[in-house]
Structures are given as C-alpha cells and as structure tokens.
Amino acid sequence: MHLWPHWLALIVLTPLVGAALTPVVALIDRRTPTWWALSTMTVTSFAATMLVLRIFHEGPFSYVPGGWTAPYGIELHFDEFSAVVGVICLVGWLAVLFSSRYTDSLPEFARGRTPYYYTLLLLNCGGMIGFTVTGDLFNLFVFMEVLSLSGYALVAVGGERIAEMAAFKYLLMGAISSLLVLFAIGFLYGITGTLNIADVTARLHGFEGPTAPAAVALGMLVVGFATKAAVFPLHVWLPDAHAAAPSPVSAVLSGLVVKVGVIGMIRVYRIYYGSGMFDLTVLNLVLIWLGAISIVMGAFFAVFQDDVKLMLAYSTISNIGYIVMGLGLATTYGVIGASVHIFNHALIKATLFFAVGAIIYRTGYRTLTDLRGVGRAMPLTAVALSVGAISIVGIPPTAGFLCKWYIALGAFQADRPFFGFVLIFGALLIFIYYIRMVNAFYFREPVHAEVAEAKDAPVSMLLPTLVLASLCLIMGILGRVPLTFIEPGVARLLAPLGG
C-alpha cells in the first residue's frame, strides 16, 4: 500500500485542523499561535511537496476517503492544475512567517486577537487547498465558502472603519457569487444526478435532454467564479479589500484567493469542453474581451494611484485579465500561459505585497509621495520590490515574462493579433507605474524623517520577501519547467471527452 494518496487527505485536513486548534494552543503562551501556525503550514507544505513530486513522476491521481468510490463518495483529485497547492503552501507559510512581526503593528483591537488571525489564515489556506484538489462539485462550493468567509474576516482584521467597509463590500459580492455557484451546482446535479466532476462531464457528454438548464448553469458558474476572480466589471470589491487588508493578508488574497475563481473556471471549462455540449466560441470571445478590458482598465487605474497597495490591487485585476484572456483564447499556448501565470503571478504579487508591507511596517507610510527616498533607506526591501515590479511587467528573464509571451503567442495562434497588442500595451502601462515608483523611491528626496531613517525590514519579513523575489527570477530562468509540466493538463482540458 502506497502512502501517496494519504498525503492528499493530509494536505486538506492539516490546515483545517490546525486552524481549529490555534485558539486552543494560544492559551499556552502569546507567541505559541505563531509557532503552531508555522508548523501546521510546514506539515502542509511537506505534503504539498510530496504531491507535486508525485504528479511530476506519475501524472494525475485520485484519492477516495474511506474507499467510497465515485460517484457516491467524496473524491479528491490531484491533477496538474492542483499543483498550485505548492505555491499556496509556500506563500501561506511565508505569510505566516511574515505575520509573526507584522501583527505587532496591527491596531490594538487586532493584536489581542492574534490567535484568530492565524486561525483565519490557516482556514483560508486550507479552503484554497481543498478547493484545488477536490473532485466534487459540492465540496468545491464548501471549500470556496471556507476560504471566502475567512477572507472577508481577514480583510476586516485590522478593525479600522475603512477595512470594515471594504470587507462588507467584499462579503456582499462574494455572497452573491457563492449563491450563483451554488445554484449552478444544483442545476447540474438536477440534470446529471451526480456531483463528481468527472461524472458530470461524462453524463453531459452526449446528453439528449433540454440543454437550457446546463447553459444557465454554465452562465451562473462563469459569472460566479468571475466575481471571485475580480474580472471586469465584477472587480469592484477587489481594490478596497486588498488595499485595506494587512499586507501579508493582501499577499494571500491577491496572490492566491482570486486564483480560486480562475481555477473554478478551469474546472467548469473542463466540464463543458469535455462534454462537448456547447460551442464555447461566444463565451470565449466574451472572456477575451473582458480579459482585455481588465488588463487595460486595471493597469490604467494602477498608473494613477498614489497608494502603493491600491496600485498593487489594481495590478492584480490587470493580471487576472491576462489569465482570463489566455483561457478565453482557448489555444494551447494561450491556456498554458494562463495556467502558468496563475502560479507565477502568485509568487510575484506576494513578493510585492510583502515588500510593501515591510516598508509600511518600517515607515508607517503607504503613498508614493510619502515614501520618497525609501529605496536608499531600505535597500534590500526596495530591491525585492523592484524585482517583483520587473517581473509583473514581464521583463525577461523574470517569472512574469514567459506567461505573457505564451498568452501573446496564443493570441496570434488564435489569429487575434489585436489582443497581443492589448496584452503588451497593458504591460507597458504597468511599467509606467513602476517607473513612478522607482522615481519616488530612488530619485526623490525624502519628505519624512521616518522614511529617511528607516532600516531594512526585520529578518522575519525580509526573508520571505527575498525568497519570493529570488523565486521570481528563478522561475523565470527555469520557465520551461512549469510550461512543460502543465502541457498535458492543458491538452486534456481542451480535448473533448473520448476524442
């Protein structure tokens, strides 16, 4: 009996159980929750590593807890897209590490509730992991709710009024989207009588009844997940939420949580591509256009932000636009690029939020005007920030480059060169913001004494930031690894069932 499948159960359960126990261990000492959360994430990360290694060697595999086989039991399915758990664990682990000092700077209200903060963080990670590895539609929804609810709370954890407002907006939009997804799952269950994704796909294949409910379900799923992914025009909740949250949380939210929507879309696509029920050209076109608008709009708004975190939040919208556009292009290159960007963007955006978080922690300022000259005061943090920025723009050989290259290539492959342009000019806009930032950080005289006298971030913050920054470079140079890895998954996604 191989131990492999049990890792799959472990990876889902560990963070959830760890989350539940955090308030308990907090009774021992004020510092314990940090260590507890760290060790929980360490175990999870270990499990994730093992799983990723396995899929590297053996390809996709499933685990059925308790031996209940599909379609009756709950199936956990680990495919190439699920490998994103690797980055979820990495960023989650680093976020916990980062938080160990960062929580000190939280308002009084939150500081007393540090254990709950870690609970929420672990719940969030657990939810995401569960979401990516489940093979079951209902579980999909459940995990989505776990991560969403913990996400709303995390945004509000600071306790400031603005954070509460942002969290409320997030909650409102999130709830509507959850509802849509839930209804759609109900529809699909009604049509097919199963919740297992593979089974749903199989039963829809060659389905002979009325197609309208399936179409409605598709629509609701796409809208629901698009809201979670903050695709234009469903993005309105994102900038405030991500800007208001504490920086490590922003890193998790921006880097990982929005991806849940995208992964959800990939799952939905698998169902509908596989079943061959509908011609998805129109939907794809809509996605491409929405993606394009997200790219340009997000980048455009980013350029005019003075608040660094708000800029990063808008940049997330822009990057999600890339991913959605890549998916919509439905060409091999496009989807490969989009899939890898899910992974790479998580690294990059986490780098950026960590670096900005460290700067805010040290200086207490968060706008470009206030942060003038910080590059000279906090050289290492600023360098990490620059690496992240270069990467998000997509300059070779950083992580952001290859995905954009592939998505652009996908646009040409799909004979839609216009979107290749949109993509590259979107990057250009982001670049302009980066220049403004560099200008402010390096070439302007400091306006505040705190900024001029700031020191580099403490090790617990600097280390995660630098690790991620170097990963931005490494993943660029080793860019071929994820690309070749994801290729069979993409081929399977785009192929009709049995075809």
């Binding site: 300059i395 070779p396 050989p397 290859l402 290259w405 652009a408 290539l409 040409f412 492959q413 060169p417 290749g420 342009f421 590259i424 000019f425 990057a427 250009l428 670049f431 302009i432 220049i435 200008n439 390096y442 070439f443 302007r444 140079i477 860019g479 071929r480 690309l483 070749t484």
Partner: protein
C-alpha cells in the same frame, strides 16, 4: 565557424559586476574610480580578445537560458555585433575617464556611475544578442538604465524630459515585443544568427505588419522623425550622458535594431522583393534633411548636436534600407564613424561648459584661442561630418553614395550631398566663431579644460582621423564590417 565561448556573456556581465561594485562600495572616490576604470578596461580587453578570432570568421556563441519552444537568452558575437561592441566598449573607456573629470563635484556620483556602467553593459548585451528576445531584454534595460541618467539633476525640466524619454522608448519597446512575438509565431524562431529567418510564404500583409512593428519600435530610439521628440529634450542630462546617449548607446541601439531587422530578421533577398524599405528610406532621407535644417537654427550647442545626431543616425537607416552590399558597409561603419565624431563633439561641449560656463553657440566667439586643442578636436569632428576625405565620415559618405548608385536610386545621392552641405552649414559657423571671430570684450587667456576632459576628447578626435585613414590596417574593425556584409549577402 561557430565556437561556444563564454566571452560574449562575460563582456556585458563585466559592467554589470562593476555597476554592482559601484553601488555597493562607491562611496569612496578612489574605489569607485578603480572599479569604473578597471571594469571598462577589462571589458574592452574581453571584446578585443575576440577580435582576432572574429576577424578570421569565428563566431562566438553562448546560450545562457533556453526557456522552451525556440525562445531563450543567448549571446552571439558575430561580425556585426563585434563591430558594435567594439565601438561601445572602447568608447566606454573614454567616456568613463571623461565622466570622472566632468562629475567631480557632483553629489550623486555613485548613482550616476552605477547606472552609467549598466548602460554600457546593456549596450554590449544588445550587440551580442543572439535572438530578438535577448535583444529586446537589453533594449528595455537600456531604457531603464538611462532614465536615472537623464533625470540626474532632478530638476522639473529633467524629470519632464525623462518622462518624455520613457514614454517614447517604452512604447517603442512594446512594438518591438509584439513584433518579436509575431516573428516567433510566423517562423518558430527568433534567432538573429541567420541572414534572414522570415520567408515570403508568410504573406505580404503579415510581413509588412511585422516590419512596421519592428521598425517603428526601433525607430523611436533611433530618433527617426517623427519619433525624435525625446532626444533634444534629453539634453538636460549631464554631458557625458548626452555623449553616451547620442554617440554610443541609445540611438545606436535603435539603429542597430533596424539593421538587425533588415539583415537578420528579414534578410535582403526577401526585403528586396517586398519593397518595404523604400518608405523607410524616404523617411530616413526626410529625417536627414529636416533635422539638419532644424539644427542650423539651434543656438544651444547641445541641442544643435542633438539634431545633428537625429540626422546622422538616419544615415544608418537610409543605408540599411538600400539593401546593397556597399550601402550595408556604410551602415555598419557609420556606427563607429558617427559615434567617434559625435562623442568628440559632446566632449567638447561639456569641456567648454565646465571650463567657461558657456553653452550657447553665439557665446563661443574667440574660444578657439582660449581652448585651442578642444576646439581643434571639434573641428576634426566637424570635418568628419561634412565628409571631408581622410576623416571617418568620408568613408560613410563614399559607401552610401556607391550604395545609392548600386540600388539605382540616384536621389539618395542628392540627399547625401545636401546633407553634407547642411552639416557644413551648422558646424562650420561654430568653428568659424571659435577661431576667426574675435572674442567680445577682452580676449581671455589660454585656459584649456582639465586633463581628464581634454585627453578623452583628443583621443576620440585622433580616432576620427584614424578611422578615416587607416581602416585597412590589420586589426581595424573595417574588415569586420566587410565580413558582416558578406554574411548578410551570402557572398
């Protein structure tokens, strides 16, 4: 013959390392100077060490990263690249010495020299780029690294010039990237190691699109009209930077991109049948004439030089678009000819400004007696631009003219001649003022620029003559240009 060798990578890496050292340990003046000078010298030696092999037809290649699907980062020191690298690395030494003298009293020297080193590093990277992606990477890096140099004084004017510079060049860069993606989409490769990778089967429309993208992208940096707007404004930068921008790095990178596009991406055979180059040539001709005319009316010396640069760089574009061997020779050798003459002029402008504080042409009456060597160097460079025989510029003029006849486009010849005369019209008055017009008020005593400013100026001026007279001597880069032409035309 191709040889795998790390030196094409080492040359740009050398200045990278130097930049790092300057940033880290640059606070102490003597250490900073040590790093600057040693890196400049070592890099030049690395490039020079490849010269003998290169002259015998050896091509050094080094693949750094291979992403996947025919894209990666690679270096390749072919004859064309060697020519450009040789020019930029040797001029870097001169400019470094000059900049040390020029920036002696500046507060932000560390930053300045750090980015300065980065700029040249990226320029050599551009020269040795094996494929369009590597080219694009260094091309964008160059944009970024030059920016801090342009806004060095941090005045509102400088910042606004910096913004204009970035806007132009970044948009240009985006065009290049789209073009690169389209080339890859069309052929599956983006290598620059062949005399043309596209073929007519791709369809004229698409080829035209790619050509337009790449050329517009590169033309922004090459300051081809009407995309030249950033260049005169960028004159607010310190003079060594202007020299670097105008003579060595930035505009040349754009021109080099166009040359690579014409010769290595499309190939002369393909372009010959397509007729895309005629509009480009017309645009270049327009730029040559118009920029020269504008230059005549500039009183600020550096602005006059800037417009002259716009005009001169278009020589390269014009020559490249003629698609004949002689014209190609002209396009390549003009990299060196223009660079040396123009850098001399900027050095002179800077030396005058530092020594006497004068920046306008009309103030220069009688300065030739005050700074005879400096103005002598300026005269040499002027004569080169006018195309006086035995000066570097003549060689360009000669080959472009031959190329014009070869391509059957006689009107290019007229453009060349008119341009030479216009060059005379805006440079000779400066020489005239300096040497023959009595100074207003009491004649100032002879007071030359300090040696760190004067020596690089004179060295460059001597090279202008050397390039014009001894190109055939063994080891001179002219034969590299010939080798490049043979490769491009498959001779």
């Amino acid at each position: 013959m191709e040889v795998v060798d790390i030196r094409p990578l080492l040359a740009p890496a050398m200045s990278f390392a130097c930049a790092g050292m300057v940033f880290l340990f640059g606070r102490k003046t003597h250490w900073r100077r040590f790093w600057m000078l040693s890196a400049a010298t070592i890099k030049m030696l690395i490039v020079l060490s490849m010269l003998p092999g290169s002259l015998q037809g050896v091509v050094y290649t080094f693949d750094l990263v291979d992403f996947t699907g025919g894209i990666g980062l690679g270096f390749r020191a072919d004859a064309l690249g060697m020519f450009f690298a040789l020019v930029s690395s040797s001029l870097w030494v001169a400019t470094t010495v000059y900049a040390i003298g020029y920036m002696r009293e500046d507060e932000k020297r560390v930053r300045f020299f750090g980015f300065f080193a980065l700029c040249v590093s990226t320029t050599v990277g551009i020269a040795f780029a094996e494929n369009l992606l590597t080219f694009f990477l260094f091309y964008e890096m160059l944009t970024i690294c030059t920016y801090p140099l342009v806004i060095h004084y941090e005045t509102p004017e400088a910042l606004s010039a910096g913004r204009a510079y970035l806007t132009y060049t970044l948009i240009g860069g985006a065009f290049v990237l789209v073009g690169t993606v389209m080339v890859h989409d069309a052929t599956g490769t983006i290598s620059l190691g062949h005399p043309g990778i596209l073929d007519a089967g791709i369809g004229t429309g698409r080829l035209g699109f790619i050509f337009g993208l790449l050329v517009i992208g590169f033309a922004t940096k090459a300051a081809l009209m009407p995309l030249h707007g950033w260049l005169p404004r960028a004159m607010v930068a310190p003079t060594p930077v202007s020299a670097l921008l105008h003579a060595v790095a930035v505009v040349k990178a754009g021109a080099f991109g166009i040359v690579r596009t014409v010769y290595n991406v499309f190939g002369v055979d393909l372009l010959d049948g397509l007729g895309f180059t005629l509009p480009l040539a017309a645009l270049a001709a327009f730029t040559i004439i118009t920029a020269s005319v504008i230059a005549i009316f500039q009183d600020d010396l550096k602005r006059r030089l800037a417009y002259s640069t716009i005009s001169q760089i278009s020589y390269i574009v014009l020559a490249a678009s003629m698609l004949t061997p002689f014209a190609a020779t002209a396009a390549i050798v003009h990299f060196a000819n223009q660079a040396l003459a123009k850098i001399t002029m900027f050095f002179v402008a800077g030396a005058i400004q530092r020594t006497t504080g004068k920046t306008n042409v009309h103030e220069l009456a009688g300065i030739g007696h005050q700074m005879p060597w400096t103005m002598g160097a300026f005269t040499v460079a002027s004569l080169s631009f006018i195309g006086m025989p035995l000066f570097a510029g003549f060689i360009t003029k000669w080959y472009i003219s031959l190329g014009a006849l070869e391509s059957g486009q006689w009107w290019f010849l007229l453009v060349m001649i008119t341009s030479s005369l216009l060059n005379a019209a805006y440079f000779l008055p400066i020489v005239y003022l300096a040497f023959f017009k009595p100074a207003r008020g009491a004649a100032a005593p002879m007071k030359e620029a300090r040696p760190t400013l004067l020596v690089p100026t004179l060295v460059c001026a001597i090279w202008v003559i050397a390039l014009g007279t001894t190109s055939e001597v063994a080891g001179m880069p002219f034969s590299l240009a010939e080798a490049a032409v043979r490769f491009v035309f498959r001779m």
